[in-house]
């Protein structure tokens, strides 16, 4: 019973912190700010899923947590590569506006 109360308290505190992270993600003036706070939110959600796995006595939820960790890492890496590619394309277009660089798709930015 004591364990149950501890899990509930931890979940509530983590939810409040998650809300603070969300505020940072909305406020963040730059793209890197938002990506960083999304990464933080992923970390906190991982802890929440692990707490739920122990609270509900369902071991398979920890597997979900592992997959979540992998996907959030992949999301951060891919999104930052995509933004670097978009920025390079924009700068190229500003440097020589005569040549129409309409090739379709975005450059991979040294992926």
């Amino acid at each position: 019973m004591i364990f149950h109360y501890i899990y509930i308290t931890v979940l509530i505190i983590l939810a409040l912190m998650l809300f603070a992270c969300l505020i940072r993600a909305v406020k963040g003036p730059r793209v890197a700010d938002r990506l960083m706070s999304v990464n933080m939110m992923g970390t906190m959600v991982m802890v929440m899923i692990s707490v739920l796995a122990l609270m509900l006595n369902e071991g398979y939820l920890v597997d979900v947590c592992l997959i979540y960790a992998m996907i959030s890492f992949l999301a951060v890496v891919v999104l930052s590569k995509v933004y670097i590619g978009i920025y390079e394309e924009k700068r190229k277009a500003e440097e020589n506006p005569d040549t129409n660089t309409e090739q379709g798709g975005m450059s991979d930015g040294n992926l």
Binding site: F3, M17, A32, M40, M46, V47
Partner: protein, 136 residues
């Protein structure tokens, strides 16, 4: 509940509270610092130390079974991936910010920085020598 269960409860709760305090510090730092490359420092702390102490506390609660092993696997995975993702986000910031000089000092070449550091070292050594000579 036996005495063993009480010990497990106390140690696990201590680790969990430690992790939550580290998460709170992370959020405080993220709101307190005023540039992305500074904020990233605070955010990376929670990604590695915060989640590892939370999950170690949960391992104590869980006991010896496969769930503990999986939690350990998550901690190891995050220790490997968190520095990589921080590095990638920092590269994004450096690549896309046009006036980075307003926020930090930039050297065009690493050799400039090395030369400056060597000069500072030499100056410090010389002052050391002169003061040492005066004392002796």
């Amino acid at each position: 509940m036996g005495i063993f269960d009480w010990i497990r409860l106390i140690i696990g709760s201590a680790f969990l509270i430690c992790g939550l305090v580290i998460f709170f510090t992370e959020i405080f730092g993220v709101f307190h610092l005023n540039y992305v490359l500074n904020r990233m420092h605070a955010a990376a702390m929670g990604d590695t130390l915060g989640i590892s102490s939370c999950l170690i506390g949960l391992m104590f609660f869980s006991g010896l079974n496969f769930t503990t092993l999986k939690l350990m696997l998550i901690v190891c995975f995050l220790w490997f991936t968190s520095p990589v993702s921080s590095h990638v986000v920092a590269r994004l910031e450096v690549a896309t910010n046009d006036n980075l000089d307003a926020h930090c000092l930039i050297y065009d070449d690493v050799k400039d920085l090395e030369a400056e550091l060597a000069e500072a070292d030499n100056a410090a050594a010389e002052t050391d020598k002169t003061t040492g000579g005066e004392v002796s």
